[in-house]
Amino acid sequence: MTNAPLPPGTVLRDPIGSLGKRLLGFGISAPITVVLSVAFFGVRWTIVLALVAGGLLAMIAKDSLLASLRWNRPTMQLSSTPYPLGSVPIVVYRRTPKRVLDIASCTVECLLVCEERATYTRGTDTTTDTRRVYESQSSGVGEGTAEGLVAEIELNVSAHMGAPSLKLPSNEVVWFVEVGISGPQLPRDTHRFIIDVAAVLDPTYRAGVQDS
């Protein structure tokens, strides 16, 4: 992780979710599942089921596990103020290896998503429906520096789809960036970073509307 001071007006954001939390969840749920399985299916079938489940989990989590052994968790350098609608900000993605590594140039793929989340209650059940109302793909060139892998990525915060970030008790609008890297000897996992979008129309966008 870098100790270099951040440029003024920016913050460093960690990705949401982590492998540690997932492993903790697995550690809690696995013994309960095993006890139930032994009670219902017997020891032999439980071993078979555990092997199959373990194999499937290893296949699914392979990329995350390998990446966590060799790389630190990434961070994203964002503006400290929320982004206006219609703006085209540039964010900086950073990831440092755990050991000294020669990092070749690579492509950092980025998907900006605006998602609506609506929670409703029917009887005693509470359900949350989600819908992606905006997606925008962009990419940046990642380069090896003294601070690890660094990539600048341009985002396109639409004024025509999605809404400013919003959190009400049963209705929510969330913006996040999903980032993955492709290149030899680079981790293949993806991470999500929450970004904040303000109820402000970007001045450059406004000028464009008024000119047309």
Binding site: E116, A159, A163, A199, R206
Partner: protein, 139 residues
Amino acid sequence: MTMGLELDDLVCPVGYQFTGRLIRRADADGVSQTSKARAVRLVLRVYTEGRGDVDKRDVSSSNFDLEPHGGLNAGFSLAVPQTSPISYDGSLMRIRYEIEARVDLKLARDDRYSRQVLVVPEGGMGVYDRPHPLPLRPV
């Protein structure tokens, strides 16, 4: 209709305020007979529609005492805080705003009168004529 709500503009950006006049016609002479109407509470309210449960809250409000004859002619302003959501037509949800005038009537059900209004992003005056998002062709 004894109640009137005159707005200077139906559109207001976040961080600014709705302004206008609240008018109520007298329904008594105030000497031999006093009006049943005692006060008016004016509320700017945001609420959601759509798939999720309804979220509803009062954003700002003000109270007006009525004359003994029940009449009122007063200017008002209702602030829209910077952190408020904007009017929105989404896929799973819609966000709506209304200004409601509720007349407190003595020993009777309160009289209500409301108007839909539009809250737009900061810098959105003259750009929006409907809830966010903007249409693909600029308005």
